[in-house]
């Protein structure tokens, strides 16, 4: 009897405070937007009477899948994405009764190629990066396609250092990797006539060649943890790493960003659009939940305020590259009016 009571007491402790209806915003999505969204959420929780939103880091694709599963409090209200929502995802959303979604652009994120600052600075073109990392490259005479045979940077271009090609980067599940493939490899590949010719003859093969990353050890999949890549670069001066700009920003005393197309990945260069490898970050809001879940409008107001995503906002301190004032104003208006996305 005593034991039954004790168990009952323990269980009631465990279930006390059971929430009836959800009074807390739930956010899912990209791990790239995660550090920014959490900063806004924390500030929002501290400065308003609403509860701090719960933010899960599920990746852009996983987040949109959860987001588009339906309307109702068991589904998330907002999803973060390090790429734009796809047409197919909009259709899934519509099929599940989510007809109105507001798109909010947050700012830009640069993807950097970086090495230890005790090694010489490297200046690469996109084509050189392609030749170093692609699975299939044009042969020496440029006529056929062969497995990547370059083992040192100097083989690609004599002006580059004579060290082994060793690049640490994220695995294919990562949004950073998607963006890197899209912005560097896929853009560079058509510069080679042998690959460009494929575009008309064999579309599938063209795509595979452009997006394929070599698997012979020169590209090391270092996991989703960017801090780990930073530590490895510190230890290995010959290696290069691929990660988001905020990690370079935090570790400027240990690492240097490599120039791409002659432009260094600096805050100014990325926000001006000069640095070629940058992408836009977004989040998407379920309009049907505004008004049902408390605090949605206020969260949008906090995120789109100048003290958050503005030039000198706290998100810029964390490595987000802000948009210019006019664009911010437009985004803010769209967000506050909940103008639905149309594609």
């Amino acid at each position: 009897m005593k034991k039954t009571l004790a168990v009952a007491a323990l269980m009631s402790v465990a279930f006390a405070g059971a929430a009836q209806a959800r009074d807390q915003i739930r956010i899912v999505g990209s791990s790239t937007v995660f550090p920014f969204a959490t900063a806004v959420a924390e500030e929002f929780g501290k400065t308003t009477s609403f509860k701090t939103p719960v933010i899960e880091s599920t990746g852009s694709g996983g987040g949109l899948k959860l987001f588009c599963a339906g309307v109702g409090e068991q589904h998330p209200d907002i999803t973060n994405a390090s790429r734009r929502i796809k047409k197919s995802e909009v259709e899934t959303c519509a099929k599940n009764g989510i007809s109105e979604v507001t798109e909010v652009k947050v700012g830009y994120d640069g993807i950097v190629l970086s090495n230890s600052n005790e090694a010489p600075e490297i200046d690469l073109t996109k084509e050189q990066i392609f030749l170093a990392l692609a699975k299939t490259v044009p042969s020496k005479d440029g006529k056929s396609l062969v497995d990547n045979f370059y083992s040192t940077w100097s083989e690609i271009d004599p002006s580059l250092p004579d060290v082994k090609i060793e690049v640490l980067g994220p695995p294919p599940t990562s949004g950073t990797r998607d963006a890197f493939t899209e912005l560097v490899l896929e853009e560079a590949c058509d510069a080679f006539p042998a690959i460009a010719a494929l575009k008309d003859s064999n579309k599938d093969q063209h795509k595979a060649v452009c997006a394929g990353v070599r698997e012979d050890g020169a590209y090391v999949e270092a996991g989703e943890n960017d801090n780990l890549i930073v530590q490895k670069l510190e230890a290995n001066h010959d290696a290069l790493g691929i990660f988001g700009f905020s990690f370079l920003d935090q570790n400027g005393d240990k690492l240097q960003g490599s120039k791409i197309e002659g432009v260094s990945p600096t805050f100014e260069a990325i926000s001006a659009g000069d640095y070629p490898v940058s992408r836009s970050l977004y989040f998407y809001v379920k309009n049907a939940h505004v008004g049902t879940i408390p605090g949605m409008k206020e969260y949008l107001a906090e995120f789109t305020s100048d003290k958050a995503f503005g030039d000198e906002g706290y998100l810029a301190d964390r490595g987000l590259i802000p948009m210019d004032a006019a664009e911010r104003e437009a985004v803010r208006n769209a967000a506050m009016n909940l103008s639905p996305l149309s594609m």
């Binding site: 405070g17 929430a19 501290k46 899960e56 005393d253």
Partner: protein
């Protein structure tokens, strides 16, 4: 007599033959000496192999422990900056109402910025001032508010107060930021380091024990982040796990061991329990996602779902350990109880279970310790999340200690590196505590038959 004499003769002859056949071993011969030497050497080598195996294991443990402790111990201390704060009545409570609601809304952040401006009056440009405000953490204003709420007499006074510093200055004070490298490549510029040095000269920089690390929830500001939220989440999760897996596990073990007939069905059950113990934990996460979230519509990220999922994972461990413990109770105990007229259920509840309990508890605690360190299944059910509020129950969103470690390890801010190691130390402390409890229970209640 003749018989006797002939017998003696025979024996003497037999002895001669046997002496010839079994020559006494010459223990001093070089061949034997070599042989013995070889055997001793083999013995010594074997000992060396064993010792070096232990040595390697200990070295690995030591390196792991050293790297975690050397990186993490500094997180238990936090840099504080002493500033002269004027509790300006005009700012805090202009009408002198003394009403906590009015005081709570006051702009304490402004007071701190005011005192920073007074301490460094030479800083005037907007950009420089922004840098200057970074000396003190954004969380300091909440501390200040609490102080005034507790003691409203402070209003109107000027006091020297220790305020929690920003993470970059904390890193500088702990020696993680090298002031020697080129200005452009460090987080703090020369001017900021100048301010810091001026404060150090005044004796206004101090490292204090960082109690907040043990009392607050997660935060994006490293200096404000704590593990209490994750610890409470782990507690609720384990509570649900224990409440579910212990009774089910023990009942299953008792039935299988004491009551179940030995037939093909029970053999299949047994084999499957052993198989279940080897299933990767992520599979249980997928099962939890499908059953608890998609079918039963339990809330995402809630410890109750985490606990239910982890209970599935710990069940086999508990059943296997409990069965071994029940099997170890001598049959004579059962026979004696039955002989004295106890029913089979009485035999089990009065005699077998109490005697098997130390073993069952040891197995349960080890299963719980496994569940405490698990992240993979929780990923699927939404417990890998940024949660600031400390959960008030098993249905509130929560995260757990190993997930907190994972989230911090992935944060860009430099100061989270030491937090990560410190959180690992806390998790290890809990694990050692739980395993210690298991050893203690075993030693205390163990019976030798």
């Amino acid at each position: 007599m003749t018989d006797m004499a002939s017998l003696m003769e025979d024996r003497a002859a037999a002895k001669v033959i046997s002496d010839k056949m079994h020559k006494p071993v010459d223990w001093d011969s070089p061949k034997i000496a070599r042989n013995i030497k070889k055997r001793y050497a083999a013995e010594r080598r074997f000992k060396i192999y064993g010792l070096s195996a232990i040595g390697v294991a200990l070295l690995a443990l030591f390196v792991l422990g050293f790297s975690i402790v050397s990186k993490g111990y500094s997180a238990f201390f936090q840099t504080y900056i002493q500033l002269e704060v004027h509790f300006d009545p005009a700012e805090i409570d202009p009408d002198r109402t003394g009403d906590p609601a009015v005081i709570g809304k006051a702009n304490f952040d402004g007071l701190i910025k005011q005192s920073l401006r007074e301490r460094f009056p030479e800083v005037t440009s907007r950009r420089d001032r922004r840098d200057l405000y970074g000396i003190v953490s954004g969380g300091a204003s909440y501390d200040l508010r609490e102080r005034v709420m507790e003691n409203p007499n402070l209003i109107g006074q000027t006091r020297k107060i220790w305020l929690i510093s920003g993470d970059d200055f904390d890193m500088l004070n702990k020696g993680y930021i090298d002031a020697e490298v080129d200005e452009s490549s460090r987080r703090l510029n020369d001017q900021e380091i100048g301010w810091y040095n001026a404060l150090v000269e005044d004796g206004a920089v101090e490292k204090q024990f960082h109690a907040r690390f043990f009392t607050s929830g997660d935060s994006r500001e490293p200096e404000l982040a704590g593990i209490w939220g994750a610890a409470v989440g782990s507690f609720y999760t384990l509570l649900v796990t224990l409440a579910l897996s212990f009774p089910i596990g023990v009942l299953a073990a008792v039935y299988l061991e004491e009551f179940a007939p030995k037939n093909r069905f029970t053999t299949i059950v047994e084999v499957n329990i052993n198989n279940l113990a080897a299933v990767p934990s992520i599979v249980f996460g997928l099962l939890g996602l499908e059953v608890y979230l998609n079918v039963m519509h339990l809330p995402r990220s809630a410890p109750v779902v985490g606990g239910l999922t982890l209970a599935l994972m710990t069940l086999p461990t508990i059943i296997i350990a409990s069965r071994a413990a029940i099997k170890a109770v001598p049959p004579s105990i059962r026979q004696a109880a039955l002989g004295l007229g106890a029913s089979p259920v009485q035999t089990v509840t009065h005699h077998v279970l109490p005697l098997a309990m130390p073993g069952i508890l040891t197995g349960t605690i080890i299963g719980m310790a496994q569940a405490l360190g698990e992240t993979a299944p929780l990923l699927m059910i939404g417990m890998v999340a940024f949660i600031v509020d400390i959960p008030g129950g098993a249905l509130d969103p929560a995260t757990v200690l190993p997930v907190q470690i994972y989230l911090w390890a992935d944060s860009p801010e430099r100061a989270f590196v030491e937090k990560t190691s410190a959180a690992i130390m806390v998790l290890l402390a809990f694990l050692i505590l739980m395993n210690g409890l298991a050893v203690y229970l075993r030693k205390k209640f163990e019976r030798k038959w």
